[in-house]
Symmetry: none
Subunit: 189 residues, 2 copies
């Protein structure tokens, strides 16, 4: 019947191992680097993926952080503090239980696309019309823009690719992700 290979428009995976969505690069939720895919339940780069794998495989106990145990983890400095990096991995939801194998379900893609668009719109609004009053969004916005001291974000969220888990919570999650991504894509331009 359906000859249409019909896939959700938007999501692609370049040959270089970079995951894109509607032409925009997805970012590692741990360090902000370019994500290579959905690893252990979150979008992550090869580095953080490998780091997390090693960490859980051999139940490594990392040396205590030399600072306040809340180092910001970014691409540039992600290797400076293992303890904090691992903590960040966990806080963004990386877990062996969250792995998702196989092809991305069409409806999940669809959902991402939608959430992405709405997030995009939201961002545009807050950016152009009233970026002085909306604290929530500015919060998010900054978080990505200047990776300042964003510590453990109170979001132990874990992406439930699961068919229909609460639509609201997952959308929050995705929104956050999208915002970061969009912001960056924006800056790059």
């Amino acid at each position: 019947m359906k000859t249409s290979k019909s896939s959700v428009p938007g999501m692609t995976k370049s040959h270089s191992g970079v995951t894109k969505f509607s032409g925009m690069v997805l970012l590692c939720k741990v360090c902000g680097d370019v994500a290579s895919g959905f690893h252990y339940g979150v979008h992550a780069c090869e580095g953080c993926k490998g780091f997390f794998r090693r960490s859980i495989q051999q139940n490594i106990q990392y040396k205590k952080c030399l600072k306040n145990e809340n180092c910001s983890i970014m691409r540039m400095n992600r290797n400076r503090c293992q303890q904090c990096r691992f903590k960040k991995c966990l806080s963004v939801g990386m877990s062996r239980d969250a792995v998702r194998f196989g092809r991305i379900p069409k409806r999940e893609k669809q959902r991402m696309l939608i959430e992405m668009q709405s997030a995009m719109k939201t961002m545009m609004n807050s950016q152009f019309s009233s970026h002085l009053q909306n604290d929530t969004l500015i919060e998010h916005h900054e978080q990505t823009a200047l990776p300042a001291q964003e510590q453990l974000r109170p979001k132990p969220q874990l992406e439930q690719e699961n068919i229909k888990s609460s639509p609201s919570s997952s959308s929050d999650f995705a929104k956050e992700e999208v915002i970061g991504m969009v912001t960056r894509a924006h800056k790059d331009t």
Copy 2:
């Protein structure tokens, strides 16, 4: 134009590939995930179906289990031990000889419905009359309090079929299954 579909009331198959019965989602008998149909003689999800197919096609000898060869197989961890997963497939009755092709015979549906109802009743009983002594069921009880936001997922339901096994044990089975699924839904949330 037979308007009288007249088949057994209840069984449907959504377009998403999820098998339902009286509005309840059927679960994979191997891992508890949502079943996509009756595969190799058992209600199974796409994952376990594919896994079993591959296993028997190329007579794969899986690596020995790293634990006690009795890993519990659930959606979250089903990929961690192939040997145990395959064993579970066999133990729940998956077999190339058990395939049922084509449309579901009416009497089979009828039978399912009946077994389902009795299983349901059993469950209800143990839930209301004596849920203080039965610790396993407490889990289940909580689930009821969960937000009912959903359309076709975290839903109490069970899975039943066993073409040629003792019909009496079927309700026990269902109960167990429900518990597992509920636990999962719980974890997911």
